[in-house]
Structures are given as C-alpha cells and as structure tokens.
Symmetry: C2
DNA sequence: CGCCCACTTGATTAATATCAAATACTGTGG
DNA sequence: CCACAGTATTTGATATTAATCAAGTGGGCG
C-alpha cells in the first residue's frame, strides 16, 4: 500500500477509487541523501512535500549554532502542509543519517483530491491535527520530564507511530537517528544523551544503535515515560455521520 | 472593533460586510471566573470557542501533578479550532488570574462564514498556522534557551502579539499571570522564576507584577532572548492573487 | 486580627552541561 | 586487505544551572 494511504488509513477506510486517486497524486518523487537539508527556497509555494520512504526531521536553528528538532517525520507524513499561506518559512526540514524519498504535489492536485473526495480532505486535516497534538506533547516533554522519562517518551511515541503504519517489525523499528540528533530533539547535551541511553539499556528497556531501536520492555518503558497514547489519536476513525472538520468546508 | 476581526486583520483587510458577518457570529458569549477550567466535556463537538476578552491558557497536566502551559491565548484567539475532528481532547483550557469572556460558535455558523467569505476562511487558516508556529517556537524555547533567555523570549512574544492587536498600552501590557504560571509555561520551578525575574528587573529590562508587564528596554530584551519575530508571521498579509491555503479548499 | 496566598530569600542538593580525552566504527584510497 | 581519516560513541572530571527544602515577608480581605 502507498505510504500516504497507509498513514491516512489510521483515520479512515478508503475505497479503492480513493486509494488509487491518492496513489496517483504522489508520482513525482525524488531522493535526498543523508543529513541533507531539503531545500525549499526555490520551490514555488504551490507545492507540498510528502515523505514516502525513510525519515526526516523538522528543525529550527538559533543564530549561535544551537538547534532544536521539532518533529520526526516518518513515511506517509506531510512535510509542509500549510506553510504556503505564510510568506516566510520559520524552520527547515532535513533528512537524518539515511536517505529519504519525497513526493512533490502541486497545490492544484491537492485541491482536486480534496474537492472530489471529502473523506480525503478530512483525513489530511486529521493528519495536521495529529501533528499539532504531537507538538504539544513535545512541549510537555522538554518542559516537564527529566532526562530518562523524556527519552523514554520519545521512544514510545516513535514506536507507536511506526507501528500504526506497519513499520514496526515486532518491537524493532528503523530509527536512523544518532545521539546528537536525540540531543537536538530532547534538548539535552550529547553526553547526557549517551548516559541516559545507558540507563535505559541497563534497565533492559531498549536496545538502540545501528539505526535501529528495539523496545525490549514496552510496558516498562511506558511506565517510566508516563506515556499515554491518547494524544496520538491513533484510534480516531472517520465515520459517515461524523461532525467533520472545524475548519469549515463546503456542505 | 470586534476582537476577532482585529486579530484576523493582522492577516487580511476585510470589507465592512465581512466585518459585520464576523461580528454577528460571535454573539453567544459567556464569562468565566479567574483560575477556572473552561469545561468542554458537556459541549457538543460542533462548537468552537473564541476568547473575546481577557487571557486564557492551554495546558496539559501529568498524572503526578506536574502541569505544562502550552500556549497563552489573548483576545481574538480561537480556542479549539480543529479539536472537533478528534474523538478525545488531549489538553484543557483555563483562565488565568482574571476572568475572561468567551464566545461559543456553532460548526454550522463557521462553515457558513467560510463558504460565503473565502477571505475569512483563509484568515482562520492563517490563524491556526500562526498558532502552530508559536508552538514550534515554544519547543525551541524550553529545549534550548536557558532561564533568562527563555523568560525574555516569552515576554517578547506576548508583547508583540498583544501589540499586533492593539492591546499594548505603550510598552505596558496586561498580563494576569502569576509566577507559578510562568513556571508552568517555561518549565521552571517557581523559585527559579522568581530569581530570573529579579535578574531581568535588575538589568532594567522589564517591570512585572500586579497583572501587568512593562517592557522597559525592548531592544535589550530581544537581544537577550535572541528574539526574531518572523515566526509570529505578523506581517503576512492576504492579497487577491495569493496562492491560498494548502489545505485544499473549493475553487 | 488573622489567614491565605503570592512572593522572596537562603541553604543545600540534584540534574545536567561542559571540557577533555579515549575508544570504537565506517568508509575510502592504496 | 590494510592504513587512515573522519565520525560517532563512551568515559571521567569538573562546573554550572536549576530544583528542592525550608522559612520568612507582605499584602488583601473576611
């Protein structure tokens, strides 16, 4: 199944017509090497990127070199839904330590999809809501949780997200993130990341390395993190009688 | 001018017809006392709240009592645009130490507004993009900046947002936030908030207290915070030939 | 007056950053 | 296949930041 369909299927069940319409929209693809910023400046703002394969990070750099990862993106995620309305990008997107494949979709194609298939429109909207919700949880994470909880929480999130789109191989997931990236995501120094990783490993909760993450004790990890998957809205499901988007759409 | 119109006018200039249509939508109002959670459970999900007067906070509590403020809302802000599509709320909204006035708007009224006035639809969408952008900056704030920078950055943000909707009285703004709230917003203990406040005061950057914040040295505060107002998108402006929302809308 | 709440202060402790160096690991050219 | 360069990881020692604990001040108000 196409990664975008698989992702949106968390929310809604699509007809084969809808599925193929979605699949057709994501034909113009390109690959980006490891640790490479995905450049936007040249792109017309009428274009939106979707990540089809691999991983990417949304990030914001401060002028003095510090930088913060704002989100990890996995296959099926949209990269910049919405930014087109704003005149200036306020953050960037880069691949992690492996290469990734993106699709470029024109504004027109998206609009066409949404006009023809309200369910798809709602699914896109659901996806942005989910992303916002994850962002809120990240604020809680860096604001309130200490090192081990924070890292455990990130791992739980990633595992559940990947699992929801069928990218978890048992409790083992691809996760091409180096310790420096973890630091940038969790707001911790690399040294402290290293020591916290050891703590989680010593407790038999995870194995991490070689671009992979293995959850050895999911309940234990979730307990440590205080993890509650409500915010991922993975169980939200479209149904015919649903109230629909708040951002109003035509009847 | 109606607070919602004033807020959306940052983005677009409205005709008097559009203005009155907006004004008419926000007639069902109610007041909420200080430090009160704005209860949603009873509300049908077809309803959306707008903050018309005063301040509010979006917040998420952990089971052990820690809680994190995710955003401050000011007059004109929408409270839960979008949450209706999800089956479960993942956070709450409360007033701060003063009371606030909200308007309840039905899903139908919003849809009607947007159908009839595409500019209003885009403006709503712009507002949610702005909110997301602010959320991203909060992640950077708690993740990367240390105490004084972090607090200074929050004050800069609030000042610019309030100023943009005409709620800054010179460099003096209403800000009914007690030190405990600052701690919950910035992820710091109350004691440390107190000491950091003293530092900013001693440097002659701000005055804070009695539900008000005065910026005594804006350039100095912005320099300390490393503040760059791009992310507020306060200068984004609608114009006829604009590409429009990425979330597709009817032609 | 006396209580509650916010704020303030001081002392101590805990968490995390920083600095510096050593040890793996990876891919490359010879 | 090896040597090497460049990264990534690990470790130890120390410094700094912020949390915690505990106690006091001060104002508003029944």
């Amino acid at each position: 199944m196409h990664p975008v369909v698989r992702k949106l299927s968390i929310y809604a069940t699509f007809s084969s017509e809808e599925e193929s319409a979605l699949g057709l929209a994501f034909t113009q693809t390109f690959e980006v090497g490891p640790k490479t910023p995905v450049v936007f400046q040249d792109d017309p703002p009428q274009t939106t990127l979707f990540l089809l394969k691999g991983f990417a990070s949304r990030r914001k750099a401060l002028s003095d070199g510090r930088d913060q990862i704002l989100a990890f993106m996995i296959a099926g995620d949209a990269c910049d839904m919405g930014v087109a309305l704003l005149e200036k990008r306020d953050h960037g997107i880069s691949t992690l330590s492996t290469s990734a494949v993106f699709a470029r979709v024109s504004q027109d194609a998206l609009r066409h999809l949404a006009d023809q298939y309200p369910k798809i429109r709602d699914a896109f909207y659901w996806a942005t809501l989910m992303e916002e919700s994850i962002g809120r949880e990240w604020i809680v994470n860096v604001g309130q949780r200490h090192a081990a909880e924070r890292m455990a929480h990130l791992f739980c999130e990633l595992y559940h997200r990947l699992n929801a789109v069928g990218l978890a191989n048992g409790h083992n997931v691809e996760f091409p993130v180096i310790q420096q990236d973890l630091g940038a995501a969790l707001g911790m120094s690399t040294v402290h990341i290293n020591r916290t990783l050891q703590l989680l490993r010593d407790r038999g909760l995870i194995a991490f390395g070689d671009h992979r993450l293995t959850i050895l004790d999911l309940p234990g990890l979730e307990r440590l993190a205080g993890f509650d998957d409500t915010y991922l809205h993975i169980r939200a499901r479209y149904n015919a009688g649903h109230a629909g988007s708040v951002l109003p759409r035509p009847a």
